[in-house]
């Protein structure tokens, strides 16, 4: 979230799109009802299905699954055509006035630089035109034909209300009604918030859907404002913490990244990440990358990390490609990956195309499961009839099940969607031999280190030299780990502006990432978490919910990364002269000598208004990007591409380029995509309020509340197929089938798309062959093995199926 849960109460217009907050985030959803009750907010839901969120919305707007970019592109076109942008904000705080390099082009669905064979782009033209001073050129009048605003206008001029309606199936009048509500928030004293979740991320164009929303918000001047922003509602209670700590194959903690195999030179690795300002006077905060990186390496390797050995840079893996889960299972399928550790993860249920997963898992030599539950993955080799039709005698994989605790059985911090790190305490001891994950990992590590010590090995250095100063080596405590990720001084730290003065003594906990050094005198396990456990103690355990501004900014409650800041980019909540755009949303302000206010300023506190420094301090150009430069795989402007399985077999905008040209598709999966001839219905998978993923089918109350697998279809499709509510139906895709009870509903309406009637089939995911709820099929038997071109998040939300009465 750019903002945070409580802040939603400050919005004037709330849009839930690419998510279903009432269903999947019912507790956070309370802030929507607060905004309605106390801020007269208008609440809009845009979704293929009339959801539980829609049940309490002021306006429900249908659209076909996977067409969100077309819809939001239409909104951009509407805002530009009706002059409903916050012009002063756009001019000062976005790259609208920046001039793009000559040679940049978009034509018939492809941007300049496409390589068909590699399915990727040469992005050299997706850049600013630089002046002789090395800075990007701008045209303050925003009239230059290659300035971002003009390119933006041209790009989205194709997204007319008629085109939107044709692609999305949204009735034109409802689309225009939504645009009207959105447009009201271009006023400086009105804000819109977008709440999204997996309904955006789980598409082959998922990242670009989110970007389109961000662009709408930049045009409206809603980023940095209380009640504004683009707000990702995270699923698992600590999934935010997972990404923060870099638990993705290509990341390091704090959104730093691993080097690629071509980056063997330490200096070049740093230079490629420590972005130099692209405009004069910009903060370009990633210039500090080396401080964060060196402190991380000191945290991991202690005295072994020295300036002379480039802080152990050579010990870091150098990636030849991204090892996301799809890649991992593809490698298993090819027989190239033969051991797998599965911690807090049930991939057989959570990853697409179950048949391929079973094939991959069956080829493993060993599989280690660390989980509190007997997951389907840990039992993939068991024969459960139609639910899991395997022959155990043919599977040689050795499976180890290591029972772990669940969150309530240990102390620790959970980071919520709003980046609040909240400490929690053990509620009950774990059952039986279950151990905390850290203990299990420690046990494995200590054993491995012993083996390396005794027997040596190909590359023992990182294992032998990792710091392991925990009081009980086989049981690192959550408190010790938290202090480690906060960071500490390894030597006395002098004040850089007042040299002899010592700001931190050797061994003291740091207060902020601003104290990190690139000379090896600080250690920090995750730079953005610095400040969470200081010399004052555990800041995450603070529980003072006082809210002096009334805006829901509770600086004494827990710890919010970064730097306890609640609203990111909050400098943009003030106009260039330092005055809040809206006096009722006074998040921060310039008091004549410094930035201050209800929130921690996201800015250099002593830089006066009128200075050139822009509010988007992480960006080298200091402004928000309407044009994404080379940061996205499939283009600097989001473009509508159909899902890999599309019910209309074409892309009405450019029939030659139907789906994402930069999405990675493995050879064997090409033949596993279906077409509308055999699979005429647009399917989408989702969660229901009664259950949590694949966990709560193991608990009695959730199983009572929603006991049995079902699929949802509209009344019209049911009539066509002779299906009645309560009938057992078979749903199948090119990859397999499931059987479930049919829920026939008015909440799915057929949509008119490109001259064709499109029906949806809704597939809740929660059932499987383990647990106490009625056994069922894993829904991901049906879903396609292809992901977003940037994140490789699988396309669970848009695929094709057929259905008949079972």
């Amino acid at each position: 979230m750019t903002n945070h849960w409580v802040d939603i109460k400050n919005a004037d217009v709330i849009i839930v799109m690419g998510g279903n907050a009432a269903e999947a985030h019912p507790c956070g959803f309370k802030w929507v009802t607060e905004a309605k009750a106390h801020n007269s907010a208008t609440f809009i839901v845009i979704d293929p299905r009339f959801t539980r969120s829609a049940a309490v919305a002021d306006l429900y707007c249908p659209l076909r699954t996977g067409t969100d970019i077309a819809f939001l592109g239409g909104v951009i076109n509407y805002l530009l055509a009706h002059n409903k942008i916050q012009l002063e904000y756009v001019k000062a705080y976005t790259n609208a006035s920046f001039i793009v390099k000559d040679g940049y082009k978009f034509d018939s669905g492809l941007f300049s630089g496409y390589d068909d064979a590699k399915r990727s782009y040469d992005k050299s033209t997706w850049a600013y035109e630089l002046g002789p001073d090395g800075y990007a050129k701008v045209d303050e009048t925003m009239q230059h034909p290659r300035c971002v605003l003009q390119l933006l206008k041209k790009h989205y001029s194709r997204y007319t209300p008629e085109a939107v309606s044709n692609i999305c199936g949204t009735p034109k009048d409802i689309f225009l009604k939504v645009c009207g509500h959105i447009a009201t928030t271009s006023a400086p004293n009105r804000t819109l918030t977008f709440m999204y979740a997996l309904g955006w991320t789980q598409h082959t164009v998922g990242s670009q859907m989110i970007r389109t929303a961000a662009m709408v918000q930049l045009l409206l001047g809603n980023v940095g404002m209380a009640g504004g922003g683009v707000n990702a509602l995270r699923g698992h209670s600590n999934i935010q913490g997972l990404t923060d700590l870099g638990l993705l194959s290509n990341l390091l903690p704090g959104y730093m990244s691993l080097p690629s195999e071509t980056e063997t030179d330490y200096k070049k690795y740093i230079a490629a990440r420590a972005f130099k300002p692209l405009r004069p006077g910009q903060m370009s905060f990633w210039q500090n990358y080396e401080k964060f990186h060196v402190s991380l390496m000191k945290s991991w390797f202690g005295d072994a990390a020295t300036k002379e050995n480039n802080w152990c840079f050579d010990w870091l893996p150098k990636l030849d490609k991204v090892y996301d889960v799809l890649q991992a299972f593809e490698l298993m399928h090819q027989g190239k990956l033969n051991g797998y550790f599965c911690q807090g993860f049930n991939p057989l249920a959570s990853i697409p195309n179950k048949a391929k997963l079973i094939d991959g898992l069956s080829k493993l030599k060993y599989l280690v499961i660390i989980d509190p539950l007997a997951t389907e993955t840990s039992c993939f080799w068991e024969d459960h009839g139609e639910y899991n039709n395997v022959d155990p005698s043919k599977i040689q994989t050795e499976v180890f099940r290591l029972p772990s605790t669940c969150f309530a059985e240990e102390n620790g911090s959970l980071t919520n969607s709003g980046r609040w790190m909240q400490w929690h305490y053990q509620g009950a001891p774990p059952p039986g031999d279950a151990k905390p994950d850290a203990q299990i990992m420690a046990g494995i590590f200590l054993k491995l280190r012993d083996l390396y010590r005794k027997e040596g090995g190909a590359f023992p250095d990182p294992i032998l030299n990792i710091t392991w100063g925990y009081r009980i080596p086989h049981a690192p405590s959550p408190e010790e780990l938290a202090m480690e990720y906060n960071g500490k001084a390894l030597a006395d730290l002098a004040d850089p502006t007042d040299k002899p003065k010592i700001i931190k003594k050797k061994g003291q906990q740091l207060d902020t990432f601003l104290q990190l050094r690139d000379d090896g005198s600080t250690s920090c396990g995750c730079w953005i978490f610095a400040g969470a456990w200081t010399e004052k103690g555990n800041m995450m355990a603070r529980r003072d919910n006082s809210d002096p501004s009334g805006l829901g900014i509770t600086l004494k409650w827990a710890f919010t990364w970064p730097a306890n800041r609640h609203i990111l980019y909050n400098r943009a909540s003030c106009d260039p002269s330092g005055k809040p755009w809206d006096p009722n949303r006074k998040v921060i302000y310039w008091d004549g000598s410094k930035w201050t206010g209800a929130d921690v300023p996201d800015f250099k506190p002593d830089i006066a208004p009128g200075n050139q420094m822009g509010p988007f301090i992480m960006q080298p150009e200091g402004v928000g990007r309407l044009f994404a430069l080379d940061k996205m795989a499939e283009g600097p402007f989001p473009e509508h591409y159909e899902p890999f399985e599309t019910p209309i077999d074409t892309n009405p905008l450019h029939p030659a380029v139907i789906n994402n040209p930069a999405a990675r598709v493995f050879k064997d999966d090409r033949g596993d995509f279906g077409t509308s001839k055999d699979f005429p219905y647009a399917a989408t998978s989702y969660r229901v309020a009664e259950h949590f993923h694949f966990w709560t089918k193991h608990t009695r109350i959730s199983s009572i509340l929603q006991p049995q697998q079902f699929v949802e279809i509209g009344e019209e499709l049911a009539k066509e197929k002779g299906i009645k509510a309560g009938d057992m139906v078979k749903v199948w895709s090119k990859r397999g089938f499931i059987k479930a009870v049919a829920v026939v509903t008015k909440r799915f309406k057929p949509l008119q798309v490109n001259g064709k009637t499109v029906h949806h089939v809704g597939i809740p995911i929660h059932w499987g062959f383990k647990g106490i709820a009625k056994n069922g099929y894993l829904a991901n038997t049906l879903t396609p093995f292809v992901g977003d071109a940037n994140t490789q998040t699988p396309e669970f939300k848009s695929f094709l199926v057929n259905i008949e009465k079972a």
């Binding site: 959803f29 049940a55 309490v56 009664e690 009572i704 006991p707 049995q708 009938d727 106490i772």
Partner: protein
């Protein structure tokens, strides 16, 4: 066993007066249907607090589950998809005991003290006194009480009388994430409901209103409805609920007659005994019996 034995104002099947030394505040639970997202957290909380568990059932082609109130499910969400002038609406109503000011169940119940009404308005079943006759089911205008096959006792929502007695809100209200269920004094809740109705009217729900039916002198669980003129669209919420005529006749006009008939019967039996003496087994009968053996 009634926890608030000093605060009972009415008891079933009893003619002696109830304690009247003190009076507690009249409470109410307001269910704002327009804020309900149907998450069933209230159902879960109800099961947890009261430690009841229904069996794991099946899906019947709808999202409702369990499908109906039972002796273990004292509240259920009822989902109805309705086309109104505003388009499709998904009306989700939490069903359960309404805690009528004039409770039909209590009136119908013949078992002394099996149903009581506290001075705070809560109508509570005292299962240890229940005789399993099921008259309360007939007496209820909302079809709420459910007879258990296991113990022939009747169960329903207690409005968490045990929690309320110690100053807590009912478990469902505590749990509700959107504030669709709120709890307080009837007066405060009525005030809150009026504010909600005004908000709904400003959003175009012209017939929004409060459902607090007069036929039972109002209820201590009441609703805010988007369409108060047609309560029937909320999964059959009765438009003008009142206590069944049968109960009124039985407990109203018929009660003195019945009491007289009962008394007459007892009187007759007594004099029969006095005049005729006890029934004795004749020698012949005894012999027959012995022979049969």
């Amino acid at each position: 066993m009634a926890l608030q034995s000093l605060d009972i104002t009415r008891r079933s099947g009893t003619t002696t007066p109830s304690p009247a030394q003190r009076k507690t505040m009249e409470v109410a639970k307001l269910i704002d249907v327009s804020k309900c997202i149907g998450c069933k957290a209230c159902q879960a909380a109800c099961m947890e607090w009261n430690d009841t568990r229904d069996k794991i059932g099946t899906n019947h082609g709808v999202l409702d589950n369990p499908m109906d109130l039972t002796e273990n499910s004292w509240t259920v969400m009822r989902y109805s998809e309705v086309e109104t002038s505003r388009g499709l609406e998904w009306l989700i109503r939490k069903d359960g005991c309404m805690h009528c000011a004039k409770p039909g169940c209590l009136k119908a119940c013949p078992a002394p003290g099996a149903i009581v009404q506290y001075s705070n308005g809560i109508v509570d079943f005292q299962e240890e006194n229940c005789i399993g006759c099921g008259y309360c089911i007939t007496g209820c205008p909302f079809n709420i009480p459910r007879l258990s096959k296991k113990d022939s006792k009747v169960y329903k929502c207690t409005l968490c009388s045990d929690r309320v007695a110690v100053g807590l809100e009912p478990a469902c209200a505590k749990t509700c994430p959107t504030g669709a269920i709120v709890f307080g004094t009837k007066e405060d809740m009525m005030h809150h409901a009026q504010g909600r109705v005004a908000d709904l009217k400003s959003r175009g729900f012209t017939s929004a209103g409060i459902y607090d039916p007069k036929g039972v002198d109002g209820t201590h669980v009441f609703y805010v409805l988007q369409h108060a003129d047609t309560p029937g669209i909320y999964s059959g919420l009765p438009k003008a609920p009142s206590i069944s005529g049968m109960v009124s006749i039985w407990k109203g006009v018929f009660k003195p007659v019945a009491s007289f008939a009962l008394a007459l019967g007892a009187f007759g039996a007594f004099f029969h005994y006095v005049i005729k003496g006890p029934n004795e087994v004749s020698k012949e009968n005894e012999k027959e019996f012995e022979d049969e053996k």
